[in-house]
Amino acid sequence: MLKISNLHASIEGKEILRGINLEVKAGEVHAIMGPNGSGKSTLASVLAGREEYEVTSGEVVFLGKKLLELAPEQRAAEGIFLAFQYPVEIPGVTTINFLKTAVNEIRKYRGEAPLDAAQFLKMVREKAKLVSMNDSLLKRSLNEGFSGGEKKRNEIFQMAVLDPTLAILDETDSGLDIDALRIVAEGVNTLRSPEKATIVVTHYQRLLDYIVPDYVHVLYRGRIVKSGTKELALELEEKGYDWIKAEVEAAHA
């Protein structure tokens, strides 16, 4: 589904990603872990098309298309969804209005007829229920004054509505207490299916107790330096990242 080859990216002249290689197949859940500053969030942002990052070399193919050539909105329409680490507050734009615009723009891109108000509301209500999203939040301005937990839940709710093929969760666990974490994880698990894939970017192992990955990759200094199964995450939880750093240093020495 997704194939990243030798991806290099920099911001303001500083290279952050230094040759990422990763393949994600339908039905899989991949966790990307790593110490702070290793490039995890950059990878998520580059995949979603954040323009501050400059891709200096490499290629990303998503469902047969060259992803890096597409604008962020085209990537979304092709089926990529990024759950933001820091969802943006947008005063004056209600969640419901925003989602209706998003759904219908994506449908337009795919050559589908727009949903009418009734169809849309019905769909939204179902999805809200699925991720235990309070209906009253829908009428409020997007994320404005939402608690940390509400914002993250709103991300998962948007994901449910937009129904992406590949979901990328960027540190969705940060700033969440254990209850909020469980609810968010349940939302993600409900949306898992054999046709879809998920990339979970996280610093800590705890989210992976709830969203169990098929593969775990450790990112360090802009490269994937170790890959394994969920046991790797447990090992990292126990031993921290220092032993991985030491291994990398040794290999370069």
């Binding site: 979603a48 098309g49 954040r50 323009e51 501050e52 604008a71 962020p72 909105e73 990537r75 979304a76 329409a77 969804f81 990024l82 933001f84 969802p87 943006v88 947008i90 005063p91 004056g92 734009v93 925003f98 989602l99 615009t101 998003a102 759904v103 723009e105 994506i106 891109y109 301005s141 948007q158 937009l162």
Partner: protein, 438 residues
């Protein structure tokens, strides 16, 4: 008056003398004396230049380089203006055509004991004391345009809301300039006296017909009595050849509530002065503004919240979207006089500049002479928030659509303050149209 003279000031001066000669006994009235004094001030001041601090960023040289027909005669009919009216807007609909109140076109639906409407000239006969007390409060001493308007005031409107009355239907004033054949000069003048514990909603709408130039020099004075409540909206969706200088002078008494929203969407040159003398305790003042210039349009808002007595509050929010080569000015003054302890005064001006060639000048000015007050002000001028834009795009919303959504939300902050639904809908429509043209 001839339109052949090149110098607008000389044209206006000779016109004043002509009109004065035509007066008979009225020339001795106190009303005329006020006008005469204002005329002399205009003569002494002349039109402002950018050397004048209050006109630093707004150069009127293009306005005064033309001549205009100021005569009241017109051929405008109800059919002519129908397409220019705001859909579904009902109430007391009053028309100024080329600066002169037209009673025939106007329709007053509120009962007489709620609302009386007459020309200023009529009012000087029927309610001379009320006119004498409230007319001419706007500053004709230092403001040449105000002085000029005062000098020519006669066919303006006097609107009176007696004590304790709530006017259910809004008062809608269309100031229409018929510039289909020639350049038109118009000087509408309004005096609203809203007595103790009375309430009214007022809207002034400015429009120009045709492709010739129009110059509007409008002055509106509003007296808000004790416990009275006034909503005042000013809507400018004028032609590309229109010049507008308008002053709204408001005096608010104890516990008075004055609520203003000024929305300027189109016009070649717009200068709005909103001056509020808070001459009472426990008053609540709200000032909202939205301006959206394009092309080479210039929109300038000068506001004054003058706290003269203790315990009142003023809140101000102005927002601007600038595109093309347009320019904007916001100058917001807050005065807190020595006696005005326990004043709360807040001011905010936020601008989005969408083009490199557009310019916004903001100048907040606080002059505080009391020591126990809460005042704050802030202005921001920037581009659209990239992070918000990316967030929307990452959900599949195209860049133009995302910009539109964000801009609309930005404007909506002010539009939603307008409590007459038909006007809010109308403005939303124009904003949507402007956003899709981008």
């Amino acid at each position: 008056m001839s339109t052949e003279t090149i110098d607008l000031k000389s044209q206006l001066i000779s016109d004043f003398y002509d009109r004065e000669k035509a007066l008979n006994g009225e020339a001795q009235s106190s009303f005329h004396k006020t006008k005469r004094q204002a005329f002399e001030r205009f003569d002494a001041l002349g039109f402002p230049t950018p050397k004048h601090e209050e006109w630093k960023y707004s150069n009127v040289k293009n306005l005064i380089a033309r001549s205009y027909q100021f005569e009241g005669n017109h051929s405008v009919t109800a059919e002519t203006i129908a397409p220019y009216l705001i859909p579904n807007l009902t109430g007391n609909i009053l028309f100024f055509i080329n600066g002169t109140y037209d009673a025939d076109l106007s329709s007053i639906v509120s009962p007489k004991d709620e609302l009386s409407v007459m020309t200023l000239r009529e009012a000087t006969n029927t309610l001379p004391d009320v006119v004498a007390e409230h007319f001419g409060k706007a500053d004709s001493q230092n403001e040449a345009f105000t002085a000029l308007n005062t000098a020519f005031a006669a066919e303006g409107l006097f609107v009176h809301v007696p004590e304790g009355k709530t006017v259910e239907q809004p008062v809608i004033i269309y100031c229409i300039n018929d510039a289909r054949k020639e350049n038109i000069g118009a000087q509408p003048r309004n005096l609203f006296v809203v007595e103790k514990n009375a309430e009214v909603k007022v809207t002034e709408i400015f429009q120009t017909l045709g492709e010739s130039h129009s110059l509007t020099n409008a002055v509106t004075e509003i007296f808000v009595g004790e416990d009275a409540r006034v909503q005042y909206y000013k809507v400018q969706n004028d032609s590309q050849q229109s010049y507008h200088v308008g002053t709204t002078h408001v005096q608010v008494k104890d516990r008075g509530n004055f609520y203003a929203a000024t929305v300027s969407l189109n016009g070649s040159f717009i200068r709005n002065n909103l001056n509020i003398a808070i001459d009472g305790e426990f008053c609540e003042i709200f000032m909202y503004g939205l301006y959206f210039p394009d092309g080479k349009q210039h929109i300038d808002n000068h506001t004054v919240a003058d706290h003269q007595k203790p315990n009142s509050q003023s809140n101000e929010l102005y927002k601007g979207v600038l595109r093309g080569k347009s320019t904007g000015v916001f100058n917001g003054k807050i005065f807190v006089r020595e006696d005005a302890q326990k004043t709360n005064a807040f001011q905010s001006c936020k601008n989005v500049v969408l083009s490199r060639e557009a310019t916004m000048n903001t100048k907040p000015q606080l002059e505080i002479f009391a020591d126990d007050v809460k005042c704050s002000h802030g202005t921001t001028t920037g581009q659209l928030d990239d992070e918000a834009l990316f967030y929307l795009r990452s959900r599949g919303i195209s860049k133009p659509e995302a910009m539109s959504l964000l801009m609309f939300a930005f404007c909506e902050d002010v539009i939603s303050q307008i409590k007459i639904e038909a006007i809010g809908d109308y403005l939303e429509g124009i904003i949507t149209q402007k956003l899709t043209q981008a």
